[in-house]
């Protein structure tokens, strides 16, 4: 890559991160190019699709999550590992509004630039779930896909203004549905 191209590349990524933080995952590509002081066509040659841009934006985060799963697997009991990883992934997908739809569709499209990283995260979660299930601490009638779906749903909820404030509470509710023996499920019988 030529020196000017490399400079454009990293500058575009930096600007894109800011715009996406403001406008979410469906931010205007033109707006990103505009703020970077570069032609739209230049942005699109570096990142031919929105997925390609997000692959570059998110790869580090997603790889960290995959690795985190491996660490938790050895350092904690299966149910704790599953729950603390779950919360971490949810926190991540909630931090970029709209990113969850992008990831969900990338996971279905082997040609997507985001496909590989999404699959890695997905199977890291599936492993954690399997371990907890084999111990009997997670419900046995769900699989990695269900786990990914629930995480995605919580990410989507956080992006809806009316639901954003309930994110943590609903996360708790759903995790308590995944575990067979939730630590405390906050259910108090009325009178």
């Amino acid at each position: 890559m030529r020196a000017d191209a490399r400079k454009n590349y990293s500058h575009l990524l930096e600007v894109a991160r800011g715009v996406v933080a403001e406008d979410g995952a469906d931010a205007s590509m033109r707006e990103i190019a505009r703020r970077a002081g570069v032609g739209l066509a230049t942005l699109l040659r570096h990142f031919p699709t929105r997925e390609a841009l997000f692959e570059a934006l998110l790869r580090a985060n997603l790889e960290a999550l995959t690795q985190k799963a491996a660490e938790l697997e050895t350092s904690h009991p299966p149910d704790e590992a599953l729950m603390s990883w779950f919360r971490e992934v949810v926190a991540f997908v909630q931090s970029y509004s709209g990113v969850v739809a992008l990831m969900a569709s990338a996971h279905e499209d082997p040609d997507s630039a985001l496909y590989a990283t999404c699959v890695a995260v997905h199977s890291a979660g599936a492993r954690l779930l399997l371990h907890a299930q084999s111990e009997g601490t997670a419900r046995s009638d769900m699989d990695g896909g269900d786990l990914f779906a629930l995480i995605s749903a919580l990410g989507w909820l956080a992006g809806q203004p009316g639901f954003a404030t309930r994110g943590d509470h609903l996360s708790h509710l759903i995790t308590s549905a995944i575990l067979t023996n939730p630590p405390e499920n906050n259910v108090k019988k009325a009178m």
Copy 2:
């Protein structure tokens, strides 16, 4: 309303229903007008916003759901009423892809054409939940807003190609999290 206007109105609604069934809630307004054989401006004078169009499209369904809640309230025990209403609303929001985002934002905007009907559905659900809670059959640490959020999340999931097939299963998982005494929660301890 003039005769030709009235004819346009009902024809537009009919066409819109078809287009929305195909393309979801973010269907192109232009496309609807085009298929109706009418100018885009004509569509927009009948329905000045997308919300206005959907208010007309969905009012009957949403009012039916509100009424259904009242019926179930008298004909069934609180927990059964809540669950069977929940499933019915979920089935509805899953039938129009993307409609759930529209409803969620309408519920936050008193000026939206969909606001009143959404609020009615919302509070009908809150009533059912309260009854079940006062009986001790639904978890006490959630409110009508949480219920609406969970329904919306399930509606959103059904609109994502990768998750659509899991809709029923995840509905079951979530309802079992709402009830304090799920009829059968499908959790088998693995030795």
